[in-house]
């Protein structure tokens, strides 16, 4: 049978047919296409503080940008439970006592629906007390002392595991032990900032248990300006490995002071460095640190992760952030929002009790890996890996299954 072909002389015009075909196509595909209805209704208000000023300001700025990116993504799609999201972020000035008052205000005056944690251990601990008093859940991204977090409604995405003072140094020393020339002596310098000091004193114990000789152990005040004398002491101790319980630019400044003494230790590890300045500085070559996320496979395999990373790059560039790469801090921040997102979406509820129960029972897939909150003090697994500055970039070098393609511990 011959099927008559459409000819231009037919009664029905070409544009009308085209429109009809498109309409039919849409009707057929409608059930399978994702619908991004604009969020509607009363906004869901999420409250938090961040250290927008004060000594923790530089890193908190990254958390602010990450939060803004995530909330904007919510509002660009269909919001949270179909409602728009409003993020109220207040400046805690890097002070735990201010943080405490502001969380009280967020709950009692601003009457926020949900809470998000502030930045850094001291502030999170302060906020946790308030969250506990009002029985609100508190997802957070940067708490370094799990043994102090007794509230069952806190949900950490700083994936240290319950004993980071043992597991993080073990990761570092195991990674280095796998190298061709493992260190035999170690000098440990640490900030007295609580989480840095906690992990670094753990590093001393772990090093000694593993048979490394600790040739120097020093603690310095958070905010130290003068590095020259400490550099001289490190030079005097001649360690194979220098462990710096560093925050921000501590490591850069110590390296600079050591270079002025014409000295560099064979290996140097930095606990919580400002990632950009160390990676970009010529002095940061082959510096070591730990990370839960870097911008390379396998971490970037998920398209949603890649999108968040790209959005972060754009926003950070606009905010004039010199190093806009996503690593531990920013990824931990995104993970905290993902945890909140997963709990609300799965339970279709804003009830803190319901959300807390769900989170304790269900692991959450985040950009830093699967997080579970059923271990001691709601901590799951230690997801940290050893990373190194190579060619001006941080790359994971150990364990090998998480290493950047072709990357190995140098030298």
């Amino acid at each position: 049978m011959r099927i008559p072909r459409y000819s231009g002389n037919a009664d029905v015009s070409r544009p009308v047919i085209l429109f009809g075909v498109m309409l039919a196509g849409l009707l057929v595909l409608a059930p399978v296409l994702p619908v991004a209805a604009a969020p509607a209704g009363q906004p869901i208000r999420i409250g938090s503080t961040l250290a927008l000023t004060g000594p923790l300001g530089p890193t908190a700025l990254l958390h602010k940008i990450a939060g803004e990116v995530y909330v904007e993504e919510w509002n660009r799609s269909n919001g949270l439970l179909g409602r728009p999201v409003e993020w109220i972020v207040l400046d805690d000035q890097s002070k735990p006592e201010v943080t405490r008052s502001l969380y009280e205000k967020l709950i009692t005056v601003d009457k926020v629906d949900l809470l998000m944690g502030p930045y850094a251990t001291g502030a999170i601990l302060a906020a946790m007390g308030v969250a506990q008093r009002y029985q609100r859940i508190l997802p957070h991204h940067s708490f370094g002392m799990p043994h102090l977090a007794k509230y069952e409604g806190h949900f950490p995405t700083a994936a240290f595991g319950p004993e980071p003072n043992k597991t993080v140094p073990t990761t570092v020393f195991s990674g280095l032990a796998a190298a061709a020339n493992p260190p035999k002596t170690v000098a440990i310098l640490t900030s007295k900032f609580p989480s840095a000091q906690f992990l670094s004193s753990g590093a001393k114990e772990v090093a000694e248990k593993r048979g490394l000789k600790v040739v120097l152990y020093l603690e310095y005040e958070f905010g130290t300006r003068d590095w020259a004398a400490m550099a001289a002491r490190v030079k005097d101790a001649k360690p194979d490995l220098l462990w710096v319980g560093a925050l921000g630019l501590d490591g850069n400044q110590l390296i600079e002071a050591m270079k002025k003494l014409d000295y560099m230790p064979p290996r140097h590890f930095h606990l919580f460095p400002a990632p950009g300045p160390l990676a970009l500085s010529p002095d940061g070559k082959q510096a070591l640190s730990v990370s839960v996320f870097e911008e390379h496979p396998p971490f970037m395999a998920n398209p949603k992760t890649a999108r968040l990373v790209n959005l972060f790059h754009e926003k950070a560039a606009k905010a004039n952030v010199p190093y806009a790469n996503v690593d531990t801090q920013v990824a931990g921040s995104f993970a905290a929002w993902q945890v909140l997102d997963a709990a609300v979406t799965a339970t279709k509820s804003l009830d803190d009790k319901v959300l807390g129960q769900w989170l304790r029972a269900n692991p959450v897939d985040t950009m830093i890996g699967k997080l579970r909150f059923d271990g001691p003090n709601n901590y799951g697994d230690d997801l940290f890996k050893l990373k190194q500055v190579q060619d001006g970039k941080w790359v994971v070098v150990w364990p090998s299954e998480f290493a950047a393609p072709g990357a190995k511990l140098q030298p």
Binding site: L52, T53, G54, P55, G57, P58, A60, L61, S94, L189, K192, L218, E219, Y220, E221, G223, T224, R225, D226, A228, A229, M230, A232, R233, D236, G248, L249, N252, Q253, E256, K259, K260, L261, D262, A274, G276, P277, S281, D283, A319, N320, V321, P322
Partner: protein, 283 residues
């Protein structure tokens, strides 16, 4: 026991760190001693100077020395302007603490608004440059800062001691009424001194940009130790400020080398308390 090299190195490092303390203390000491204004704003001005040096160096491509020379007149005018505000609002010694605290917070906020709270580092070829002195190393930038502090302290001392303006300023600080009776125009000289002190803050800022990493909140980290230097050195005493800076710098550095870095901040205040107990009339 620390080695002799370690001790020697810590003394050298301490002397050089003390130079920067003295440089920062100079303006505050003059303002407090001669104008009776405890100007916390100097820390903010120094950091503003540091950020401007950084900006002119990294974006404008200027050499740091040229950048500092360019901002010096600007800071002189800024100092004069600030003093005009203090005069207009009749700010006195005690209220100056509150007012200049506010000025510091405003300048800090402006710095953070423009340069963000993120760290800024002015990378220069001089950053790691040092000279060898036997087994000891002398960092070039810190040495230059220390020599600048010494030159400015000596120059200021001579200015106050041997020139008419210096003598008039000291006389006004001692007894404004008698000085005025002798024809001293304290107002004009106060404006001049405010401008000079702000310019000193710009010089200190230039060195802070070259030696340290910049973040707006770091201006508060210098406050305690510089206050101690000003009081130990004696108000309006440039040579005293230099000596106190060096003393505190060496004490802190040796404490770090011999005892522990965490003990160093205690040193400056222990010296201050000891001095106030032994010589209560000094400050």
């Amino acid at each position: 026991m620390p080695s002799l090299t370690l001790l020697g190195q810590s003394v050298v490092s301490g002397l050089l760190a003390g130079g920067l303390y003295a440089l920062l203390a100079l303006g505050l000491s003059l303002s407090w001693g001669l104008l009776r204004l405890v100007n916390l704003g100097y820390f903010a001005l120094a950091f503003l100077g540091a950020y401007l040096t950084y900006q002119l160096g990294t974006v404008g491509g200027l050499a740091p020395w040229t950048a500092v020379l360019l901002i010096l007149p600007l800071f002189f005018v800024l100092g004069v302007g600030l003093h005009a505000v203090f005069t207009w609002f009749r700010v006195r010694e005690f209220t100056s603490l509150l007012v200049t605290f506010g000025v510091t917070v405003i300048i800090e906020s402006l710095i953070q608004w423009y340069w963000t709270a993120d760290f800024r580092r002015y990378e220069t070829p001089y950053a790691s440059l040092s000279f060898r002195l036997g087994p000891l190393f002398v960092p070039a930038l810190e040495l230059l800062a220390c020599l600048t502090a010494a030159a400015l302290a000596l120059g200021t001392w001579a200015w106050l001691r041997f020139t008419y303006v210096g003598k008039a300023l000291r006389a006004s600080a001692e007894d404004p009424a008698i000085a005025a009776a002798f024809g001293v125009n304290h107002r004009a000289q106060a404006f001049l001194l405010s401008g000079v002190a702000a310019a000193y803050a710009a010089v200190a800022g230039g060195y802070i940009a070259l030696i340290s990493t910049l973040a707006p909140s770091q201006m508060w980290a210098w406050l305690g130790v510089v206050f101690a230097v000003v009081i130990i050195g004696g108000l309006a005493n440039p040579i005293g400020a230099l000596g106190a800076g060096l003393l505190i710098g060496v004490s802190e550095s040796v404490t770090m080398a011999v005892v522990a870095p965490a003990w160093a901040p205690l040193v400056s205040f222990s010296i201050l308390i000891g001095l106030l107990v032994l010589r209560p009339g000094r400050a």
